[in-house]
Amino acid sequence: MALSGGADRGSHSMDKSITLPPDEIFRNLENAKRFAIDIGGSLTKLAYYSTVQHKVAKVRSFDHKAKETDGDPLYEISVQEEITARLHFIKFENAYIETCLDFIKDHLVNTETKVIKATGGGAHKFKDLIEKKLKLKVDKEDEMTCLIKGCNFVLKNIPHEAFVYARHADSEFRFQNTHPDIFPYLLINIGSGVSIVKVESEDKFERIGGSSIGGGTFWGLGALLTKTKRFDELLQLASKGQHTNVDMLVKDIYGGAYGSLGLTGDLIASSFGKSATTDKEFSKEDMAKSLLHMISNDIGQLACLYAKLHNLTRVYFGGFFIRGHPVTMHTITYSINFFTKGEVQALFLRHEGYLGAIGAFLKGAEEDNPNQYSWGENYAGSSGLMSVSPELNPVQRARSGTFDMLEMDRLERQLVNLPLLQDPTSYIPDTVDLTEDALSRDYWLFCFEDALDGVVKRAVASQKDQPEAVERAEKFRQKYRHKLQTLRHQPFAYGSLTVRSLLDTREHCLNEFNFPDPYSKIKQKENDMALKYYLKVVKSVEELSWEQRQFTLVKGLLAGNVFDWGAKAVSDVLESDPDFGFEQAKQQLQGMKTFKLSHNNDKILNHKLFLTDK
């Protein structure tokens, strides 16, 4: 059950001003339509649909049959304007709601929008304000339905959406591969109370149970016990406390373990049991910690009982109690492990806070059939996990204000699993998980940062005719560098960090500043050249004896994969010798045995060697 209105924030804080230029937050409002809003106890989530016009580099002509002697270019790239659909989701504190609505009103151009879908416990409280400010009719949607719709959407569309949390492991976040079939699953939503929902298909779900002991109990009881008002502060207190001072443990009763039942001495036998038998003062921290354990264990136990009864193993946790709080994710994970003896893993979602807003949006956008397309997370426009988590990154919080964003782009084609894959669930396209491998992570982050100047240079060069390209390229540099810095501290920000995701992030950032392909000019030149040589090479290969031909093909193949020597190694070679060509690459291969492979790149090399078949 969602938290409704009970928050301690008074209306006195309504006049807070936005700390960032709001046009960097509410982007593309000019053609925004289909608004949805999810207002919780302390956070508001706004969703809208927009279209983005941007440049794309496309191959205009490709001719490998042409004669070498022809003067016309054989390979041509042209830059075209294209329009893509984008979904915007913005999360901010309820205190900013009025300021935000004003901003939207001032920038909203599109007039076809008549209604705003609304959900969340606070929706009714702000109904009048929204209708007055935006002149849109507020259309309420059922909270749970929105939540489930949103959950299905992120599970289907966002890779590495779900993760397992392990506080003391090398990487706290272990992201799960996207399962082609997301159903059935259990969603435990911990708002002020707890709802336990079994989801069987896109349209079929059932609230199979719940509990009144939830986030509201932690907050309400915690406030009574510690005189601390804010939820975040209570969690902070809890993370500093010792529950063993307040709880009665098995060893307090037994003197040690209860051996015959396998109950260890450190287990809690009775929550707050010591405060019943000892007449002394207890510290706020200790009581908050004891309360946190009591509630987390209780929810975990019920979740396990329901999972067992309905024979479900995928259990996702959400709600404001969980939302981005390592403390609660840890205690819930601990509880689930304890009660299922490790058979069920507690799963959390990167975009859990947006589920209601996404669902409400989808409800209102049904005629656009958003569920028929594939949507990809835009790394340039999304804040990433824990961007506003004060306990994790206070500096970051101060810098980015309290706004968190998620943007999703509609992909050209619907994504499906490659039908040739034997087992799509176990297929992992990326050989190195940089989230887990700290050494490789440092290496690759360094590589990308090191190469940034070069990319900026090429980006400017690719648009020589446009004088403001320099300025845009500089903005790109700042944005991408900031992303790299974020990933250095929070490698988990966008799911599993891989070389591929670093490249994607760079591409998204380039696109944002209208650089569809900084390499387009080079590609055009090189491919044109390659096509000119193509017929000659084919002919010369055909003239060879069978055995010779095989050697030549293999050598050519390896030389063609020269980039797999390691991006950095290659760029070093290319930078130092601009005329480095195919023949030189083949020459280099002679020394292959002594060629020092870049860190961790051997896997990629082998992988590609067997796949490449030109």
Partner: protein, 437 residues
């Protein structure tokens, strides 16, 4: 072989003893009443509802006579105690023989007499020890002796006082075995030895609990029924306590609510498993009440809870949805968030201590009901017996449990209660007296 000053010689005797003790372990085997030594009124007397039903039922057959004969010899020496040392309370049961002959009385050592008189002539011991007189079982036959079973409790932190008393009354000179269960039997074993020179026979608490439940239920079957339930639990005006016949109890979910909670699935008298437990139990109720209201005893906390109103503290479904949440069949009166209203400062300032005590009681009770219901479903058991001292004089919680189980299971589950709610572990321990070492 000499056990606690009691002589047993001859092989035949040893065999007899073994057989007897087996019989003693099977207190509930009503079909075998003729060979059961433990007092079990036959089906006939139970049906007749006689006023003095507790008697040793014996057939005139020779083997039984032999057994009685050997029982006399094998009988443990007085005093007969069973102890359950929990996290919060110590439960003590004491069998007071009422059939002492003049000759016996003369032989009775002074310390034994003193203990008997001290325990039976008082209803309160020190500031915190209490004898639950209303639970006393009179005219009970145990191991061939007639007498009364007394039920005494005191806080676990008063254990040193108890040990001092044992020392003052020269308890150790009686060479009796002190059967004890509960965590304290393990934790305080050394204290018993060093402070009172007493050797404990430590027993598993869940074994004792089940033995105790089955035994008490078997010896109490008329007059005030041991087992009861609430008829029409969902209609407060018609809700009434009714006797329940626990004759074929299996399978049974046994929920013991002490400081913490243990939930057991019992399939037969010696086949059971601990399904799960929760740390939100009686200790949590009292602990939170102490912190929230400044009270210091269970009875105080309970008295406050009786006066309070939990809906001022809890956020109900109707507080959020204005009424029922029909989409999911949640009635408006259901609690959506325990203590949920306390997120708001104005409401925190306006609630009374009584309200807070009531909300704590309701929260803990509902949660136990909820976990119990899930266990019953998972184990496919329909009958649930709630025991433990959390339920002592706590009709509020009992009715709430009865209500919750009935409502959420749509009448499938039945909540049962036992009059001697917190004493079964101690009774189970007492029954082990004939089976020492």
């Amino acid at each position: 072989m000499e056990l606690n000053g009691f002589n047993c010689d001859g092989e035949g005797c040893a065999e007899e003893q073994e057989e007897e003790s087996t019989a003693l372990k099977l207190p509930r085997s009503k079909t075998e009443t003729t060979c059961s030594i433990i007092a079990t009124p036959g089906a006939d007397s139970a049906a007749a509802g006689g006023s003095a039903p507790i008697e040793l039922r014996m057939s005139k057959s020779t083997p039984a006579m032999l057994r009685l004969d050997s029982l006399k010899k094998n009988r443990p020496p007085f005093p007969w105690f069973g102890m359950d040392i929990g996290g919060t309370l110590v439960k003590l049961v004491y069998f007071e023989p009422k059939d002492i002959t003049a000759e016996e009385e003369q032989e009775e050592v002074e310390s034994l007499k003193s203990i008997r008189h001290y325990l039976t002539s008082h209803t309160a011991y020190g500031k915190t020890g209490i004898r639950d007189v209303h639970l006393e079982l009179t005219d009970l036959s145990l191991w061939g002796r007639k007498g009364s079973l007394h039920f005494i409790r005191f806080p676990t932190h008063e254990l040193p006082t108890f040990l001092q008393m044992g020392r003052d009354k020269h308890f150790s000179s009686l060479h009796t075995t002190l059967c004890a269960t509960g965590g304290g039997a393990f934790k305080y074993e050394d204290n018993f030895r060093t402070l009172a020179n007493l050797q404990l026979l430590k027993l598993d608490e869940l074994d004792c609990l089940i033995k105790g439940v089955l035994y008490i239920d078997s010896v109490v079957s008329s007059g005030l029924s041991e087992c009861y339930y609430f008829e029409h639990p969902t209609e407060p005006d018609r809700c009434e306590q009714r006797a329940y016949n626990l004759e074929n109890p299996y399978p049974l979910l046994l929920v013991n609510i002490g400081s913490g909670v243990s939930i057991l699935a019992v399939y037969s008298k010696d086949n059971y498993k601990r399904v799960t437990g929760t740390s939100l139990g009686g200790g949590t109720f009292l602990g939170l009440c102490c912190l929230l209201t400044g009270c210091s005893t269970f009875d105080e906390a309970l008295a406050m809870a009786t006066e309070g109103e939990s809906t001022r503290v809890d956020k109900l479904v109707r507080d959020i949805y204005g009424g029922d949440y029909e989409r999911f069949g949640l009635p408006g009166w259901a609690v959506a968030s325990s203590f949920g209203n306390m997120m708001c400062k104005e409401k925190r300032d306006s609630v009374s201590k009584e309200d807070l005590a009531r909300a704590t009681l309701v929260t803990i009770t509902n949660n136990i009901g909820s976990i119990t219901r899930m266990c019953a479903l998972n184990e496919n058991i329909e009958r649930v017996v709630f025991v433990g001292n959390f339920l002592r004089v706590n009709t509020l919680s009992m009715k709430l449990l009865a209500y919750a189980l009935d409502y959420w299971s749509k009448g499938q589950l039945k909540a049962l209660f036992l009059r001697h709610e917190g004493y079964f572990g101690a009774v189970g321990a007492l029954l082990e007296l004939t089976n020492p070492f």
